[in-house]
């Protein structure tokens, strides 16, 4: 029975195996099944653990997942996305958890155990992210999220009348309520306790009585998120026109303008600068559009290649053992290769977690550059 495992092709761990043949030449592969298994596991574990907000400190499995997810939110998402964090945390957390489960499940050699136990060749386990189609789908989700969020950001800016305003990024959550972690937001928690308002308007400092007495200037974090802002000089665009103008303005701002004239430059200097700016900007836009396609493509390739590389190295090593003739020489080859394989398995496990982090970190950076670009 042990001979069955020795008979198996070590590269089988990497290749997709058809499990169910569908009409039209398509089939359900073991890697597709693995993504369903990962999704099923996630749906089993997470809602049950996190259904209610507990008052006391978390423990056990809840603590484990919460520490990882909170680490991602506080150390990775919030520094990049700042006030837009809460909008993207669900998507980014789902992405991270799904990729992590897929990667780690692929490292468990269930196939091999079942082959030894049952004596038949079993091929229904695999790495879901070891299929370039799965990672391509994940990269496509990231691409759609990045650009749709960017377009929606422009749409909302146009409707609210804040387009082009270089407002400083608030360090708090996006839903209007201040962030909850006092350890992070201590200044804001203190400011709220004191009733102080973080305002960019100098009149709040020079004439605070009049400024705060009027109802026209509610504090920054209590302003309504829709277009009903009563601020003077802020008139929003008609929503239908904003929907039409969002895409052209997104493309206009997609690439930087190297020779953009200052608002106070007039006349010939202004025309001259625009004449120099437009050709350069067109080239930069072409490069940026290429980059917009290449970055998710690189995400896809990086995750895919990292997931299968470990298995391929293992296969290349293990296939050396039966190549040599004689039991004793195979044993002599086998012992160090087994130890080396164990080390490579550890490395693969590490790479599984690291690649999750890299994918999610880079997606966060791309979303931040679309939604909250640094000036």
């Amino acid at each position: 029975m042990l001979m069955f495992l020795a008979d198996a092709d070590p590269i089988d761990e990497v290749l997709p195996h058809p499990l169910l043949h569908l009409p039209g030449g398509l089939y359900v592969s073991n890697q597709m099944l693995m993504s369903l298994v990962a999704a099923g596991l996630i749906l089993l574990i997470f809602p049950r653990l996190f259904k209610q907000a507990r008052g006391e400190a978390p423990s056990g499995a809840r603590n484990f997942f919460e520490s990882i997810l909170e680490f991602l939110r506080v150390e990775v998402f919030r520094p990049a996305l700042k006030e837009h964090t809460d909008r993207f945390v669900p998507f980014l957390w789902t992405l991270a958890v799904f990729i992590c489960f897929c990667n780690v499940l692929g490292q468990i050699p269930v196939d091999q155990f079942l082959t030894i136990l049952t004596g038949r060749e079993v091929h229904f386990w695999g790495t879901a992210t070891g299929s370039i189609v799965t990672t391509g789908a994940l990269a496509l989700c990231a691409f759609v999220c990045i650009h749709v969020s960017g377009l929606l950001q422009f749409y909302h800016d146009l409707v609210r009348g804040t387009y082009g305003h270089h407002a400083p990024h608030e360090e708090r959550s996006a839903n209007g309520k201040p962030g909850h972690e006092a350890a992070i937001d201590l200044e804001h928690m203190r400011a709220e306790a004191l009733g102080a308002d973080v305002s960019g308007d100098l009149r709040a400092v020079t004439d605070p009585t009049k400024y705060y007495a009027s109802d026209e200037h509610p504090p920054v974090h209590l302003r309504p998120r829709d277009g009903s802002d009563a601020q003077a000089g802020r008139h929003g665009m008609n929503p239908a026109l904003a929907a039409v103008m969002a895409l052209p303005l997104y493309l206009w701002n997609f690439a930087p303008h190297p020779f953009r004239p200052e608002p106070n430059q007039k006349g010939l200097a202004r025309i001259g600068l625009w004449c120099a700016d437009i050709p350069m900007w067109t080239m930069l836009l072409a490069l940026e559009l290429l980059g917009a396609v290449i970055k998710p493509f690189a995400l896809m390739m990086r995750l895919f290649a990292n997931m299968i590389a470990g298995h391929i190295v293992l296969a290349a090593l293990v296939v050396l053992i039966p190549l040599s003739a004689g039991f004793l020489s195979q044993l002599a080859y086998g012992a160090p290769i087994t130890v080396l394989s164990l080390m490579i398995r550890f490395l693969e496990l590490f790479v599984a977690f690291l690649q999750t982090y890299i994918f999610v970190f880079l997606t966060t950076l791309f979303i931040a550059s679309a939604v909250a670009p640094e000036h």
Binding site: A298, M301, R302, F304, A305, N306, A309, I312, L354, Q355, Y357, I358, F361
Partner: protein, 95 residues
């Protein structure tokens, strides 16, 4: 120039099909070059990280984390080259 001329002569006048073998040659050389590039890049990165940790051991943890992230990114496109080479070699193997 001379070597390219020689290669062109071989491709034209050989009595067997040279194309698939050339793909295999390209794949092998490409994989080696990809390994070389990745190794050089990550080696430099590791050297700079070691220097940084030696200068300031107390930020060693942060330097290590950033080093791992940068290594993963460099390895990303090394693996991309490797996948291209594997595709080439896949064309050569007797199916």
């Amino acid at each position: 120039m001379l070597m390219i001329g020689l290669l062109a002569e071989v491709v034209d006048k050989a009595p067997f099909a040279v194309g698939a073998g050339l793909a295999g040659l390209g794949g092998g050389i490409g994989a080696g070059l990809a390994g070389l590039g990745g190794g050089l890049g990550i080696g430099r990165l590791a050297g700079s990280a070691m220097d940084g940790i030696a200068r300031q051991p107390e930020v060693g943890g942060r330097i290590f984390v950033n080093m791992i992230v940068a290594a993963a990114l460099i390895e990303g496109f090394t693996f991309f080259a490797m996948v291209v080479c594997m595709t080439l070699i896949g064309k050569v193997m007797p199916a």
